[in-house]
Symmetry: C2
Subunit: 360 residues, 2 copies
């Protein structure tokens, strides 16, 4: 009878373990993602009240009415057996949470990949974008054809040609989904507004890891300065807004697209960036020397500024790792490392960084 009990106990324990433990599994497999909790919320923002008194018989008059805006929106999922720190994923210019969801060619994005690796995942729309569209400042939105600009700027190729070996599927359906993953600003781009709201997201998540993409990089640095709950940053191809201590801003770097300029903050604020591990990643097809194509040349200038920034942060005791992927033999990546065809390899690289820094 003792043996029966033992056998039953062993069987039940191992089966219960199979129920409640999800091992890290590759994306796209048939293994379900077990979600302990999921939901959405607004964070941060401000509000205003129109002068006068509200009259319920004149509801279309603003008198005495309120208006809430400039918050961030977050959709979050917490898997079972979740790791200690969640990841907050922040899109770039013209984009929204879709950046991290299904890729344009229909594979799993970083949302699912990191859920499967048992991280809590928060996808945000920054203030004045997508589901956080209620802006405190007016805007006019005009449907201006601009997709060839983005095709080039995002280093998919030189329209209508794709870069040789590019990590981006070359069919019409993928292009269609990719172009439809943009959504406009509903108010002016304002780094202070954005970083205030995302700092409020971290008040809700608790200590966590911030992933930024492109234009999200600049307000991402500010968010880490504003909220010590940002415990690490992985910046995917951060754009032009690198932050230096006052008096240490390097000379602007001109390019065929624009001029990349560092921004200054007081040293006490800057030092926040030296206290967390930071990984900065850039993809392929960034020229080493100046070229007269604005899209390519803009990234040469940005990568050069990123290197100066890494040196400055590390000189002050920081822990910035900058990886230009081709130097590791990882070729063909566009501006969208997180959704490129080799995005699992990119996720592996990021996961290793998080493990090395004790953040998983």
């Amino acid at each position: 009878m003792m043996m029966i009990r033992t056998l039953l106990a062993v069987a039940m324990v191992s089966l219960l373990a199979a129920c409640t433990t999800i091992p890290d599994v590759p994306p796209g497999t048939a293994v379900p993602i077990q979600i302990k909790e999921q939901g959405s919320f607004a964070a941060g923002g401000t509000m205003t009240t129109a002068p006068g008194a509200f009259d319920p018989r004149k509801p279309m008059a603003p008198d005495g009415q309120t208006y809430h805006g400039d918050h961030a929106y977050a959709f979050y999922q917490i898997p079972v057996n979740v790791r200690k720190m969640p990841i907050v994923m922040w899109h770039g210019a013209g984009q929204f949470s879709k950046t991290w969801e299904t890729t344009a060619d229909g594979r799993e994005g970083f949302q699912n990949i990191f859920l499967r690796r048992r991280f809590g995942v928060y996808l945000i729309d920054q203030p004045r974008r997508g589901n956080a569209g209620r802006s405190m400042v007016a805007a006019t939105i005009t449907p201006t054809p601009d997709e060839q600009l983005w095709f080039n700027q995002f280093r998919i190729g030189l329209w209508p040609n794709y870069f040789e070996g590019v990590q981006f599927a070359q069919d019409a359906q993928t292009r269609n989904q990719f172009f439809r993953s943009m959504t406009p600003n509903t108010g002016p781009f304002d780094m202070a507004v954005l970083s205030d709201a995302v700092a409020a997201v971290f008040d809700r998540t608790g200590p966590g890891i911030l992933f930024t993409h492109s234009q999200g990089g600049g307000p991402g640095w500010l968010t880490a300065i504003k909220n010590a709950k940002v415990k690490a940053i992985v910046a995917f191809e951060p754009g032009s807004s690198f932050i230096f201590p006052e008096g240490e801003v390097p000379a602007p770097i001109p390019s065929a697209f624009d001029t990349v300029q560092g921004a200054a903050v007081p040293m006490a604020q800057f030092m926040a960036l030296t206290r967390i591990p930071i990984l900065v990643l850039y993809g392929d097809n960034i020229p080493a020397q100046a070229v007269d194509l604005p899209a390519q040349d803009s990234w040469r200038a940005r990568l050069a500024m990123a290197r100066l920034w890494r040196e400055t942060v590390n000189k002050h005791g920081g822990d910035v790792t900058l990886v230009h992927l081709p130097e590791l033999g990882i070729k063909g990546n566009t501006h969208f490392l997180m959704s490129d065809m080799n995005n699992v390899k990119i996720a592996d690289l990021v996961a290793k960084f998080l493990a090395d820094k004790g953040l998983d």
Copy 2:
């Protein structure tokens, strides 16, 4: 030894069943939601090309560039052991997918509730709203204070007072989240554009059930006319756009807010609405007689038109069930039945309808 094997087999089978089958569970429990697949996509929409030739050295000029817009955006989740038909959930005026997510007071919304009941769930943002913001038509967005209008119009109360027994939490944090669950139109409201895009969503989902809220009701009827894959509609407080056969449009119904008018379509189109089961639900605090408060009176007129519409559809062989919840003794519901404090009871009522119609 036989007994041991039997005991072990029984234990393993019951535990494996616990692993692989999710029973219907109440929301907010600790039971994980097992997601077999989740992701997002754009559906439908159009595109335009600017005249001229694209010059990569002048990327800011629209010449020869394309612009994709007027698609819908959908985020979907398919649970394990999924039921036959998924549910596509469509928000109302000023809202987005948030309508179906976490409630303003932090409980589970219909997204989670119906996932737990093993339905596939697709949350959409209609064209020119939220994550589907890329509009083919320009718009100016002005931050006009309007929240007391919505507080009244959504029948939470008569600002600043709440209706007695209202199914809406009365704390400041809930109000804050509720007001921040709005996002503006990024282009004109156009029922043809909206229904084209959501019909394309159903081409992707296959045969399914459409939930509409408020202003989504009108384009929802058009979607069912355009795509026979819409196999049922549950309309939560549909607004003013009821669709009648030509020659059978009833007299307009004036209210203290606006005049509710039916729209006409050819009989052949109208008949599509007679071929699917439809459930229409309205909440509490809708006056039976005309009152001079626009918010209340608008719903008296809408409910009256909904009843005329039900009679017309059913007269032509349709299957419309209209439920005014107070008649069932369900009290205090606002315009947001799906997120009210009794939303599990509302979900039960909807689930029973789907079961009665053989749709689960």
